[in-house]
Structure formats: structure tokens, C-alpha cells
């Protein structure tokens, strides 16, 4: 089925278009809107964005696949972006990544079966003075230890379950 943007997203896109001298320049922001709306960017979303901005789908495809933050397939509700670059490596970034993999039972790049978490090995996330670290959405988790990671995972999991309950309630 063809996808449509919600009224709210449409409004957002209208506003975005006023910020650029042409429609193509709004592509990245509109893709962010689309991904927020649909969770990921399957073919239908890609076509919708192409149509909205009057761009060839092939161009949109080329852009989506160039940037690591756009996802063609469904991913976990929480993206755990763990840095293993220089500063984090020196302070145990790989140990944190390994701990996450053991704890969640999936490898980097994979999503837990319940859809709660995806582990992403990241390059430097610009918090090197607080290495090792990870980011999840707008939350930075700094100066990590395995113990801290356990507490964070419990908390994120709780919030995830709660959100799921709320959406269920909202739907019924």
C-alpha cells in the first residue's frame, strides 16, 4: 500500500521547504521526518519522499544509502551507539561493546528479538573526554563501566515496555 505522511508531518515538510531555495536541498531533513514517521525507509517511503520533493527515486536511493543514519529495514526501538574509536578504545570502549553483546545476546549490527535494542558500533561521537561512552537518541551515557551499562539497560528496557503499553492503550 502506498504510504502517506500524517498531517503533522506534512506541515513540518511545508515549513522545511521555506528554508531552502529548491526542493532538493530539503531532502535530508525530509528523510529525517519520514524516518521518524515510519520508523525506517522502505521502498514506499523512498517513493513518497521522491514524489513530495519531485526528485527521481534513484537520487533518493543514492542519498539514503550514502548516510549511515538512514535505515532501509526495521531496527530496534533503542539504538545503542557505542563508540570504539581512539579515545574510547584507550579507555575500554571495546570491553563496553563486548559487555553489551553478551548482555543482550546479539552482536553489533543486530537487533534483539523483542525489538527493544539494536547495537551499533560507532565512530567517535564527540565525547572523547568522557570515554568510554555511548549514545541512545538524545541521551549521552558517559564514563561507562559494565556496571553502569547494566543499570542503563534496565532503565531503557523499562521505558520501552511502558511506551509499548501506552501505544496499546492509545490504539484500543
Amino acid at each position: 500500500m502506498a504510504l502517506e505522511f500524517s498531517a503533522q508531518a506534512k506541515q513540518q515538510i511545508e515549513r522545511l521547504l521555506t528554508r531552502y531555495p529548491n526542493k532538493q536541498a530539503a531532502l535530508l531533513p525530509v528523510l529525517h521526518v519520514a524516518q521518524d514517521e515510519f520508523g525506517h525507509l522502505p521502498d514506499e517511503a523512498l517513493e513518497l519522499v521522491a514524489k513530495t520533493l519531485e526528485l527521481p527515486p534513484s537520487h533518493v536511493f543514492g542519498v539514503i544509502t550514502f548516510y549511515t543514519m538512514f535505515h532501509r529495514a526495521r531496527t530496534g526501538a533503542n539504538h545503542l551507539m557505542v563508540c570504539t574509536n581512539v579515545s574510547c578504545m584507550l579507555k575500554g570502549g571495546y570491553e563496553i561493546l563486548g559487555h553489551l553483546e553478551r548482555k543482550l545476546g546479539v552482536k553489533k549490527g543486530e537487533t534483539t528479538p523483542d525489538g527493544a535494542f539494536t547495537i551499533v558500533e560507532e565512530e567517535c561521537l564527540a565525547a572523547c573526554a568522557n570515554a568510554p561512552m555511548m549514545v541512545c537518541g538524545t541521551d549521552y551515557f558517559l564514563d561507562l563501566t559494565p556496571q553502569k551499562v547494566d543499570v542503563i539497560l534496565d532503565d531503557l528496557k523499562k521505558r520501552y515496555e511502558q511506551r509499548k503499553l501506552e501505544t496499546k492503550k492509545g490504539a484500543s
Partner: protein, 447 residues
């Protein structure tokens, strides 16, 4: 002024630690937006001269003189764009993110003043996609500045009416978009592929118009330059680099952090004074002086001042070599030492496996190469693979020379500087820590 005198002077971090420093009310209370007012009363040329006089140099990596860059915009340019590079992603660098989070209004005022000076009517901030938290903070600040009439409203100036629009644009995960021409392509809704230069952005940049790209920290210095004068700013620094310098110190020190310091403070003072010394009992083995693309220094090179020119020329820093005794030629006989880069200083102690560290850096650049140029695409991949196998103790005879040869084959043969960003540290690590690489090879042979 020596760096001792400039201790304690804060320009871009002056509002750090102040409660709600990211809010306009607090920013204005602390003197914010008075530089803008002062600027609008002056002719544009005077402002550009003031910035020239200040010896402000770009804080994004290359240290290019900001006033000089601004003066490249053609007088007859139809339209001018100012773009703030907030894509911070050079490994070891974490200053712009903190600057954006703590003092977004200082950046906005800096951009408003710069836009007036450059005749820009619509400026953009290109913020790294992963920085979702900072994007929220900056957008809220922009909204406040619109509501207060600083943005989006006409102001009377010494040169007629001036009105500025400012748009925050989020990237989507690609290190290469920090390179200014890749950034412009990305902002135009394309893949972030660097462009051939010339034409330089100042002539033909965003949407094919004259464009100035400046780093976050660079632009945040502008309000104080206008308020206190270019001379004041120049005097804070060393002969050719004005102002203060932000460094981000990470790795094996007691007090890692983001510090605004006098330009030209020596590494030794930074590590053993400002950062409280090494975190463990082991001595320092080396450091990366300005983000992972800069050749490392070893423990004997710490007396050197942290300043753009010193790091390129100070005789106390050894030349980077192709092989022992043969200095690397950057072209025209120019030798390579290192560079101040992005201010990301990564300190490592004697316990560090430098070959593994170097392999991690190479893996990064291989991953981030956009693939347009063969020497970079293929070369960075080879550097990563060969360095990784050496690190694992699976190196082969000739691998050390092979690494140097690949690096030499990349440098100078690519569209953008990502090629050098991989080749330079590779050669640097081989020069400064050659015995570590050879020891790995000996281990491999013994096994």
C-alpha cells in the same frame, strides 16, 4: 603577550558553568547581542579588517586565516552564504558539541555579525546527524532569537537595512561531510562527495553562490573580536595566531576535558599541570596532537607550544619519514611534522598497543572514504587491512615498508584531504614508533 598572561581569559567558554547558559535571557543578561549592535553601526569592510587584524585562524582543522578567507568573497557576488560547520567528527575531538550545548546564542550572534559583514541573508548551521540532543538545543535557541527579533527582522545598519534568516540543517551520518565541499553537497540534498577545488567555495559554493564555511569555534570568537577589537584578540595569542585555543584532552590523563587555554601553551604544561598528569602509574608514550588525522608526537616532543605554526615547523619535532633517514616530501621539498588540527589531544601511556591504535585509526578512514578517488578508496582499505594484520601478530615480511609505500601513494593524489588524513598519521606512527611495528613483525615470524 606570553601565554602566562593570557591564563584565565575565556572567550568561547565564558558562559560555561552558568546555569541555563543556553537560554537567551541568560545570554543577554551577560552582555550578549551587544557585539551585534556595535557591528551594525560599522561599515562591512571595517569588520572584515578587524577580523583580519585579530589573527583569528580557523578552528576546524586547517588553521586558515579567517579574515583572509572572508576577503575572497567577490565584491560583485550576487548572493553570499555563510555555513557553520558543526559536523564535528574527527576522532578525539569533542569541543564543538559542548560549545553548541552550552552557548548556542554565542554562535548565533557570531553568525549574525559574520553574515552582516559578508552580506549573507540566509545562513545555515550544518550539524552532525548523531547530535540529536544538541540539535534540539540549537533549534530552541534559534527560535528564541527569531522571537526576540534578532533573526528574521530588518535592522538598520551603517549600510542600509539588513535581515538574516538562519536554518539548522541536520546531517545523517557521514564523517566526510565535515569536509567543506562535501558538506555543501550534502546541504544541497546530495551524497556527501567532496568537490574538486578550484573553484573554492568563496567563489562558487552553496547553490553555486559565493560561500564561506567556518567552524563553530571560529564563529564563536567573532562577537568578542567586535566588542574588544582585533588588536586585543591578536595580542592574546602568539605572533600569527590570535585568541585562545580550545583543546579536548582524552586518553590516559587524570583530568580529561575540554579546556580553553592560552594559545601556545606547551603540551607538557597541559598534561602535567592542567590535566593533573597521567591517570595511572605508567609514563606517557605519546599523543595525538589535533585529532586522529595528525601525526603523533612521542614523549620527547612535549616542550612544543600548541600553536598552528609551531606544530608544523618547531625543530624539536622530528620530521615524518618514509623510511628511517628519508623525510616525507609533501611537495616542493616541504617536510611534514604535524599540525594543530581540531584540538583533539589523545594521550596514551606505555601500556598502549600503538600498532592496534594505529590500525583502529586506519579502519576509521577506510570506512569513511567516500570512494570517489582510487588512491584513497583502495589505499585506505589496504592500510587498514595490513595494519590490522600486523597488530594481530599476523604480519608478513615487508609489511612495515608496504604500509609506508601505500601511504605515500595516497598523499597528494586525491580530491580531498581525507587521503592525507589517513596517510599522514600512518607515516607518523611508523616514524615515531617504528620499533613497536617491528616487534609485532618479529612476533609474527616467531609464531
Amino acid at each position: 603577550m606570553g601565554w602566562e598572561d593570557a591564563k584565565g581569559i575565556k572567550i568561547v567558554t565564558k558562559n560555561f558553568g552558568v546555569t541555563d547558559s543556553h537560554k537567551l535571557a541568560i545570554y543577554s543578561q551577560r552582555g550578549g547581542w551587544s557585539g551585534f549592535k556595535k557591528a551594525l553601526a560599522q561599515p562591512r569592510a571595517t569588520l572584515v579588517d578587524e577580523v583580519k587584524k585579530s589573527n583569528l585562524r580557523g578552528r576546524g582543522g586547517a588553521g586558515f586565516a579567517t579574515g583572509l578567507k572572508w576577503s575572497f568573497v567577490p565584491k560583485e557576488a550576487r548572493r553570499v552564504y555563510l555555513v557553520c560547520n558543526a559536523d564535528e567528527s574527527e576522532p578525539g575531538t569533542c569541543k564543538d558539541r559542548e560549545l553548541l550545548a552550552f552557548d548556542p546564542h554565542l554562535l548565533i550572534e557570531g553568525m549574525a555579525i559574520s553574515s552582516y559583514a559578508l552580506r549573507c541573508e540566509h545562513a545555515y548551521i550544518y550539524i552532525r546527524g548523531e547530535m540529536m540532543r544538541e540539535a534540539k538545543i540549537v533549534q530552541a535557541a534559534i527560535d528564541e532569537a527569531y522571537a526576540a527579533g534578532h533573526l528574521g527582522k530588518e535592522h538598520g545598519t551603517a549600510e542600509g537595512p539588513f535581515k538574516l534568516d538562519l536554518t539548522l540543517h541536520r546531517g545523517a551520518g557521514a564523517y566526510i561531510c565535515g569536509e567543506e565541499t562535501a558538506l555543501l553537497n550534502s546541504l544541497e540534498g546530495k551524497r556527501g562527495w567532496p568537490r574538486m577545488k578550484p573553484p573554492f567555495p568563496a567563489i562558487k559554493g552553496l547553490f553555486r553562490e559565493a560561500t564561506i564555511v567556518n567552524n563553530v569555534e571560529t564563529l564563536m570568537n567573532i562577537p568578542d573580536i567586535v566588542e574588544k577589537g582585533g588588536d586585543w584578540f591578536a595580542k592574546l595569542g602568539t605572533s600569527k595566531s590570535g585568541g585562545t585555543r580550545i583543546v579536548c584532552v582524552s586518553g590516559h590523563v587524570k583530568k580529561p576535558g575540554v579546556y580553553e587555554l592560552p594559545m601556545g601553551i606547551p603540551f607538557k604544561d597541559l598534561i602535567y599541570d592542567v590535566c593533573g598528569g597521567m591517570s595511572g602509574s605508567r609514563p606517557l608514550k605519546g599523543l595525538i596532537p589535533g585529532g586522529s588525522s595528525m601525526p603523533p608526537l612521542d614523549a620527547s616532543e612535549l616542550e612544543v607550544p600548541i600553536e598552528f605554526d609551531a606544530l608544523m615547523t618547531d625543530p624539536r619535532i622530528k620530521d615524518v619519514e618514509v623510511k628511517p633517514g628519508v623525510p616525507f616530501d609533501m611537495g616542493g621539498g616541504r617536510k611534514l611534522k604535524t599540525m594543530a588540527g581540531s584540538g583533539g589531544i589523545v594521550v596514551f601511556d606505555e601500556s598502549t598497543d600503538v600498532v592496534a591504535l594505529c590500525a583502529r585509526i586506519m579502519k576509521f578512514y577506510a570506512h569513511e572514504s567516500c570512494g570517489q578517488c582510487t588512491p584513497c578508496r583502495e589505499g585506505t582499505g589496504w592500510l587498514a587491512r595490513v595494519c590490522t594484520r600486523l597488530a594481530k601478530g599476523e604480519g608478513r615480511l615487508g609489511d612495515v615498508e608496504l604500509l609506508a609505500n601505500i601511504a605515500v601513494g595516497i598523499a597528494g593524489n586525491t580530491i580531498c584531504a581525507l587521503g592525507e588524513a589517513a596517510a599522514w598519521p600512518m607515516l607518523g606512527f611508523l616514524t615515531k614508533f617504528r620499533t613497536d611495528f617491528e616487534a609485532k613483525l618479529a612476533k609474527a615470524k616467531a609464531a
